[in-house]
């Protein structure tokens, strides 16, 4: 029974359970739903969840545990040494899968698939004929293991269906048994909903932990091969895949911060002023048109901004600023990437600030206007100070986006790591280097590749601090008016 069919069957059971639960509950109240503890639909939902949930849990457990068990029992059939055990097992699985597919496509009969006889070469040829390409001819042990693997897997699939359906039916009947007018179905359903929500929340948390853990693990490998001090304080970035690289993070960090700084210099005032105009001056009609238009900017993929940097802003800056003023010849520059990234951040800053400005109570404005302050005085002296913590939070969030941005940097600022003050020079950032260290032919044991994880971890720590700070400030600000 395939997973899909199991699922359909369980869903069907759960649907049946819904109506059965409802009907039984109504019947137990003698047809009068007012004597029931909960609404009929709650009883239905309760029975239906009972049919669904245990079945899903059994299915999940089975899918995790059974392959592991089959693997270990099949591996014990193989006479190979420790190191190549994985490879041998992979071969077994490929043969097994190939045979399954061949049977499914009708190329060979099921019986024939279990009785491949002959010398290794013959077997390899036969397998090749049904579409299984093998590196080397399989020996008999491998073939036996493959056979055993297939047999076990098939058995496992069969029992999986049985177990899941049994769980579903059993739980359904149990739920129906407890369903009567006294039963607190509503509370139970409530608990299940709460459990699901907790599950979703914990998935988010655990993935974060998982990401950090994997980064930590790989970074540790890196620091085992490359001195941490040289990584964090080295001023030269010159990876060399033949060894002897300089992997100092400082030029990359400098590029990251420089570009982000220019982006923020550009985005914060414009975004903030746009937000002030939108929330304080613009009439409702204008706001209805202009606000979505600004937010459209936020929907543009960053690669498109990157193209804009590459073909428009970069050459423009070079031809009209950098060359005439003698700052450099490069179209890729910190300035190009910074400005384009700034444009990308404008809607981000403005829509966050707009929300924050709107959260300043109207009574504050009334109080100030009622004292004879003009609108701009009111904004400057009352609205902005009240909103300042929130705006700082918005800026920090924008900063952490700028720090994590990659595409615009590659296309706008280039990929050359450099420590320079000249904003018209090409530089690059941490994110760009992470990509370039991991693409192409890479050897996951060399420090040149592993450095990507250390870079990622550093970046993550950086933006995490910024985000925590931003959230802290935003939260503090919220309390002010509650």
């Amino acid at each position: 029974m395939s997973v899909l069919w199991i699922f359909i069957a369980v869903l069907g059971l759960s649907l049946v359970g819904f109506f059965a639960g409802r009907t039984r509950a109504i019947a137990s109240g003698g047809g009068d739903i007012r004597v029931l503890h909960s609404l009929p639909k709650h009883y239905g939902a309760f029975v239906s969840t009972a049919a669904l949930l245990p079945a899903v849990i059994v299915l999940a457990l089975w899918s995790v545990l059974s392959p592991a068990m089959i693997n270990s029992s099949v591996a014990s059939l193989l006479p190979t040494s420790e190191t190549s055990a994985d490879l041998a097992l992979n071969d077994v699985k490929r043969i097994a899968n190939g045979l399954d597919q061949a049977v499914a496509q009708g190329r060979i009969s099921k019986d024939a698939s279990y009785n491949f006889e002959g010398t290794p070469e013959e077997i390899a040829k036969q397998l090749g004929a049904v579409g299984i390409a093998l590196g080397s001819a399989p020996d008999t042990a491998t073939m036996d293991a493959a056979e055993s693997y297939r047999a076990k897997a098939e058995k496992s699939r069969f029992w999986r269906g049985v177990a899941v359906l049994a769980a579903s039916v059993f739980a359904l009947l149990l739920a129906l048994r407890v369903t009567d007018k006294e039963f607190r179905a509503r509370n139970t359903v409530e608990r299940v909903v709460k459990g699901l929500l907790i599950l979703s929340a914990s998935i988010a948390v655990f993935t974060t932990i998982g990401i950090v853990a994997s980064m930590l693990f790989e970074s540790r490998n890196f620091f085992a091969q490359y001195p941490a001090l040289q990584f964090f304080f080295g001023t030269n970035w010159a990876p060399n895949f033949r060894g002897g690289s300089d992997l100092g993070i400082l030029p990359l960090l400098w590029g990251t911060l420089y570009i982000s700084f220019i982006a923020l210099i550009f985005a914060v005032p414009i975004g903030l002023f746009a937000a002030i105009y939108m929330s304080e001056y613009a009439g409702p009609k204008l706001r209805a048109v202009a606000k979505p238009m600004i937010e459209v900017l936020a929907g543009i993929p960053t690669i498109v901004y990157g193209l804009f940097a590459l073909v428009t802003v970069g050459p423009l800056l070079r031809d009209y600023f950098a060359q005439p003023l003698g700052f450099g010849e490069s179209a890729s520059s910190v300035m190009t990437a910074g400005i384009v990234m700034g444009i990308m951040l404008i809607p981000f800053v403005s829509s966050l600030s707009d929300d924050i400005l709107n959260a300043v109570p109207q009574t504050m404005r009334d109080a100030s206007l009622g004292l004879g302050a003009t609108q701009s005085e009111t904004i400057k002296q009352v609205v902005l100070p009240a909103a300042l913590p929130g705006i700082v939070g918005a800026v920090l969030l924008a900063a952490s986006r700028a720090i994590g941005e990659t595409m615009i940097v590659v296309m706008g600022a280039g990929a050359a790591a450099k420590l320079s003050l000249n904003p018209f020079e090409a530089m690059t950032t941490v994110t760009v280097k992470i990509v370039s260290q991991l693409t192409g032919d890479t050897d996951f044991a060399s420090p040149e590749t592993l450095v990507a994880f250390a870079l990622g971890l550093t970046l993550f720590a950086f933006t995490l601090c910024l985000n925590v700070l931003a959230l802290y400030i935003v939260r503090k600000y919220r309390e002010q008016y509650e």
Binding site: G283, M364, R365, D366, A367, L369, G370, G372, P385, A386
Partner: protein
């Protein structure tokens, strides 16, 4: 209305501070104020009473053009402050509001220090050139608002940290710091407990020596306690205007009588 205790007070014979002629106010197409004519005297407390939704706040907000901040609101008719039309194009609403201060229903101190709250108006209008002058204005306003003794040791503490009643008195201090000529109060006690209410009422009575006060209230007892003139609004109409004693003891209009005896409202 026997339970409302009316003091015998001198009926004011002050001159007219604000005169409204045929004022109509519209929110979009709905007419919220209908042909209101009223004279508000200087150095007098005038109370606006009436069932809720009858337009008291709307009319009050016309007197310092706070309605300008509401897009859909339109005011017709003439409102004269010292014989000058406040809706005339050459009148700057900003300057008008410095002369006609306002205290709102909910205490709304700025999230600044107590001192900065009170100093806000004087700073905006450049009323004090020296720090000492500003200190003087702040102290004076807080004293007039009967708050000085409670806050004199913590002027730099945030105004939002005060109790509700103190916050409202702070807002009154803030409003009188700009030395307005008229003080508009929109249900200033509705968010306060009885003790704070009593303090604010006492304060309002004291303010009469310097300002012309217009207070909106839903409490007839309060109107009777603090005002010399009472205006009764009903469904956007000004139904009755007269000396407070008179309105409460001898109303001329049957609607007023129904309202103060509790039959409508």
């Amino acid at each position: 209305m026997k339970d409302i205790q009316l003091e015998n007070r001198a009926v004011t014979d002050e001159k007219t501070k604000i005169a409204a002629n045929n004022v109509n106010v519209y929110y979009g197409d709905t007419r919220a104020i209908k042909d209101v004519n009223i004279d508000i005297k200087s150095r007098t407390v005038t109370a606006f009473i009436g069932p809720s939704g009858c337009g008291k706040s709307t009319f009050l907000r016309c007197l310092n053009r706070m309605n300008d901040t509401i897009d859909s609101c339109r005011v017709e008719g003439r409102i004269l402050l010292d014989n000058e039309d406040i809706y005339d194009t050459k009148v700057d609403p900003v300057q008008l509001r410095a002369k006609v201060g306002m205290v709102f229903q909910k205490p709304n101190p700025f999230p600044k220090s107590i001192y900065d709250n009170v100093a806000y108006g004087p700073r905006i209008h450049g009323l004090a050139s020296k720090k000492a002058d500003l200190d003087g204005i702040v102290e004076d306003s807080l004293r007039k608002a009967a708050l000085w003794d409670e806050v004199k040791d913590r002027l730099q503490a945030p105004g939002t940290g005060l109790s509700g009643g103190q916050q409202q008195r702070l807002c009154i201090a803030r409003a009188i710091a700009t030395s307005p000529e008229v003080l508009l109060m929109d249900e200033p006690c509705s968010a306060l407990d009885p003790i704070a209410t009593a303090q604010v009422e006492e304060l309002i009575d004291g303010l009469r020596t310097n300002f012309s006060v217009v207070i909106v209230t839903h409490s007839m007892q309060q109107a009777a306690r603090v005002s010399q003139q009472t205006a009764f609004f009903h469904l956007g109409n000004l139904v009755e205007l007269g000396d407070t004693d008179h309105v409460f003891t001898n109303p001329t209009d049957p609607r007023t009588e129904s309202y103060i005896t509790g039959r409508i409202g």
